[in-house]
Assembly symmetry: C2
Homo-oligomer: 116 residues x 2
DNA sequence: TATTATACATAGATAACCGAGGTATAAGGA
DNA sequence: TCCTTATACCTCGGTTATCTATGTATAATA
């Protein structure tokens, strides 16, 4: 991770939900996807992501299921739930509102205000 | 605080440095200023801000000094140091880069890319 | 053969923020 | 007068998030 631990906080679930909203994915795949989609900015450690996925499953945002891959190896896929979709929308709003507020304080442009 | 603890992480020092770059301020004043500048989004608790100021002083980003107010009460003002100004620039870049990366992952616009 | 990539998982350390509490003064209303 | 609110500083303990390190196992590659 290139950023301080701090900055990540709170945006992790938003990003994972975003990815799972597009298609079902397994843990390792999510890590790679976050890496590439962020322009190599977010290199999540496994020790970070797996506990997050378990937490999200406990919260009923996602549901995990085992599926065999072509190579015969079993992977644990996650799919977003209706609850998770609702949460995704809430987190997206929260993120926009947060980013907008930070920018107001530090004197950046009022990005995000259109969605708040 | 309206946001999850998580989201704040890492942006606190950036925002405080931003305010102190404009003028010297004391703790309580910073809390009020963050509140008003953010459109009442950031209501920092004293239990959050004071330790942050102490940490920043330890890191030599700011320097505290006591000054008497008109009413005779003594306040602890903080002024940003040269080190702090450098840090401010670094944190500003980091924030833009971070916000941009999150938006790329969640499919928002590429805000911040111009400054990265 | 050794290393790297894939793929899952947990335990302990570290750090950040918050809630709650403490101290003290001053102003304003009941 | 008393009580509440605002100002103004501070610390302790709890919760939570992330990282490091470690463990397991297989397959591909050097």
């Amino acid at each position: 991770m290139e950023f301080d631990r701090g900055l990540l906080g709170g945006s992790t679930i938003l990003m994972v939900l975003s990815l799972l909203h597009e298609k079902d994915m397994y843990g390792y795949e999510i890590i790679k996807e976050l890496d590439s989609k962020s322009g190599n900015m977010f290199q999540f450690k496994e020790g970070t992501l797996y506990p997050v996925l378990h937490r999200m499953e406990n919260l009923s945002y996602v549901k995990g299921y085992r599926k065999e891959a072509e190579n015969g190896k079993e992977r644990k896929y996650y799919s977003i739930t209706a609850e998770g979709v609702k949460q995704l929308e809430a987190e997206r709003k929260k993120w926009k509102s947060f980013a907008c507020s930070v920018n107001m304080v530090i004197g950046g442009m009022a990005y995000g205000s259109e969605g708040v």
